[in-house]
């Protein structure tokens, strides 16, 4: 979102570009208007090239279409949305923390959604429409990852890791066979896919522990523990590879690693909690 329309005409032309989401901000801004990243703090990038997701200051406000989102708390941060009239957001039912009584809710119609279940409940994507307030959080220590999506962006996200998405973003999911099979004995793992249509939208994820992002060059690969995978650009390919550990009489075990190959961004979380998909 390089859009700078929120900056009044006649103001100084000096702008600060957010290093996390590339949005333009007024030069006096302390946090990015579009993603909440602090603008006065140096980026934390490891020598191996992983950038730590920006730690959003408590009570930072983020703007998207006619709505705002305030990020509250630091250990298990909550995202509180103040929906503008006509704006809506969608989310999984288990992340809702509280809402105004009068915020209307509906359900997103999904192809194949009936087959997917979460924690014994049918997998349902709910939609809340403004005006009104509604807040979200997840079940463990972690970070909110705010990803403003520009038109033409496609992002693949680990199942159940998305907290909310604005209505401008199209949602679908694909089932990845093999990814979680060997690790967790399940039947596969779903991956949520977010695609922007003509207008920018906002996507907020929750990663367990700390979240790191790295941009892979075309053809560049990295091996990632499948449980640590959080999101990727759809241009990044993901392939599971196995390595047998231990041998002989006692059998040993298989270690599976996901080979992620660029070009594009890869996001990982430092702690993983796997929610089984039925």
């Amino acid at each position: 979102m390089t859009d700078a329309s929120h900056i009044p005409a006649g103001e100084s032309l000096e702008r600060i570009q957010c290093q996390w989401c590339q949005s333009m901000n007024e030069k006096t801004a302390l946090a990015c208007r579009a993603c909440g990243a602090p603008l006065d703090i140096r980026d934390l990038v490891s020598e191996s090239g992983w950038r730590e997701a920006p730690r959003i200051r408590d009570m930072t406000e983020i703007h998207f279409s006619a709505s705002t989102c305030q990020v509250e708390g630091e250990i298990v941060p909550a995202a509180e949305i103040n929906l503008g009239p006509g704006d809506s957001i969608f989310f999984e039912h288990h992340v809702m923390l509280w809402k105004d009584e009068n915020v209307p809710m509906t359900i997103l119609q999904l192809a194949g959604g009936m087959k997917r279940a979460f924690a014994g409940m049918p997998f349902i994507i709910s939609v809340a429409t403004g005006p009104g307030r509604i807040a979200f959080s997840r079940d463990a220590t972690g970070e909110l990852v705010v990803l403003p999506l520009h038109p033409g962006m496609e992002l693949d996200v680990r199942e159940h890791a998305f907290l909310l998405s604005s209505h401008q973003i199209a949602y679908s999911f694909v089932r990845i066979k093999g990814l979680a099979n060997i690790l967790f004995g399940g039947q596969g793992m779903y991956m949520d896919r977010f695609v922007t249509t003509g207008v920018p939208g906002l996507l907020i994820l929750h990663g367990y522990g700390n979240v790191f992002e790295r941009r892979l060059r075309p053809g560049e690969s990295i091996m990632v523990e499948p449980g640590a995978f959080l999101y990727k650009d759809s241009t990044v390919t993901m392939q599971v590879e196995f390595q047998r550990l231990g041998s002989g009489f006692f059998g040993g075990t298989n270690m599976s690693l996901a080979r992620m190959t660029g070009p594009g961004r890869v996001g990982i979380q430092s702690m993983y909690v796997h929610h089984h998909t039925e």
Binding site: E47, G209, N210
Partner: protein, 339 residues
């Protein structure tokens, strides 16, 4: 008061250094060490308050550095409680430590990641479930372990794997907590409660022992054996050359130094590590009156009694102790207090 060997701060009256484990000599009058004002030492080389490594004083002035050996940030030393527990020192995000020609960067604060940049001649080993990511070129092999088939982690065989440089490899665990870098000096050993180990450099030797701490509970005809600190304890030592040991503990970590025959009671599941010289056994506490509502044999507190000399560390998040409320029929050596 400061350790003569490594320069770390020592608990008043303590006989061992919390940081390096060496004996503290008491002959020097403590008053003589106090007057050096802070400003006078700022521009000279100084020592890390946690592990004793030398740090360039000028670099501290520029607010740029962390201790190269353990990652502690000068000026962010953890406090010492009035009861004598030293908190793990503060660490700046992305702090970098060096071992051999390799580096380890510690990234993140909730569930920190140890990101190793291995030189060609260096290696690290780790339990396979802590691997977070690696360069495609870094090879992983399994490590032969004496009697390793006895050891299980979450029902799976515990497999030690090693990675050889050059390249990057990173590790993390599955709970919010602290990453504890423990630089081991030649000849130094450390006993660690099982499953807290994250990774160690190739110079560190690994062995494990039975804890011999257990109790049995009986319910009807069924008896069950419980191991409050685990059936096994890991021992890490650096026989010849210095090595780096990385542990991960849940919540916050506190360390204290016990004098000879000094004791402390800790929650068995909260123990993180101890010096090999520290002895441990079970300890029961219960009311003396048979007729009180506490009068049953099973109504008591179950502690781990640690006996100095040496360092002990505990974590603030601990698992529930299994079998604690059961009817105990037999147990390993234990002491008892009635009140």
């Amino acid at each position: 008061m400061f350790c003569v060997n490594c320069g770390a701060r020592v608990t008043e009256g303590g006989s061992f250094c919390v940081a390096c484990g060496s004996h503290v000599k008491h002959e020097a009058p403590p008053a003589a060490e106090q007057p050096a004002p802070r400003a006078a030492v700022v521009h000279t080389a100084t020592k890390c308050a946690w592990c004793g490594a030398a740090i360039d004083g000028a670099a501290i002035d520029r607010d740029l550095t962390s201790c190269p050996r353990c990652g502690a940030a000068p000026g962010l030393e953890g406090g010492v409680t009035r009861s004598g527990w030293a908190e793990l020192p503060g660490r700046k995000d992305m702090a970098k430590l060096q071992f051999g020609n390799s580096f380890c960067q510690i990234e993140g604060t909730y569930v920190p990641v140890a990101d190793m940049n291995l030189a060609p001649e260096d290696s690290v080993y780790f339990a396979h479930h802590v691997l977070l990511w690696k360069d495609t070129g870094v090879n992983i092999t399994t490590m032969p372990l004496r009697g390793a088939w006895k050891r299980l982690f979450a029902g799976m065989p515990l497999i030690m794997t090693q990675a050889q440089g050059p390249g990057h490899i990173a590790f993390s665990r599955d709970a919010p907590g602290e990453l504890i870098p423990v630089p081991l000096q030649p000849g130094q050993s450390l006993d660690v409660r099982e499953h807290l180990f994250l990774a160690a450099t190739g110079q560190v030797e690994y062995d494990w022992n039975q804890t011999n701490i257990w109790f049995r509970t009986r319910k009807g005809d069924d008896t069950e054996t419980h191991y409050p600190v685990g059936m096994f304890m890991d021992r890490f030592s650096a026989p010849q050359t210095p090595g780096l040991l990385l542990l991960h503990a849940a919540g916050n970590v506190f360390v204290r130094d016990l004098g000879p025959r000094q004791t402390i009671l800790v929650k068995p599941t909260a123990l993180v590590f101890k010096d090999p010289a520290v002895q441990m056994h079970l300890h029961f506490e219960r009311p003396s009156s048979m007729f009180s509502s506490w009068g049953y044999w099973s109504n008591r507190y179950l502690w781990l009694r640690l006996i100095g000399p040496g360092r002990v560390a505990v974590e603030s998040v601990f698992e529930r102790l299994e079998g604690e409320g059961g009817n105990i029929s037999s147990f390993s050596y234990a002491t008892e207090t009635r009140w």
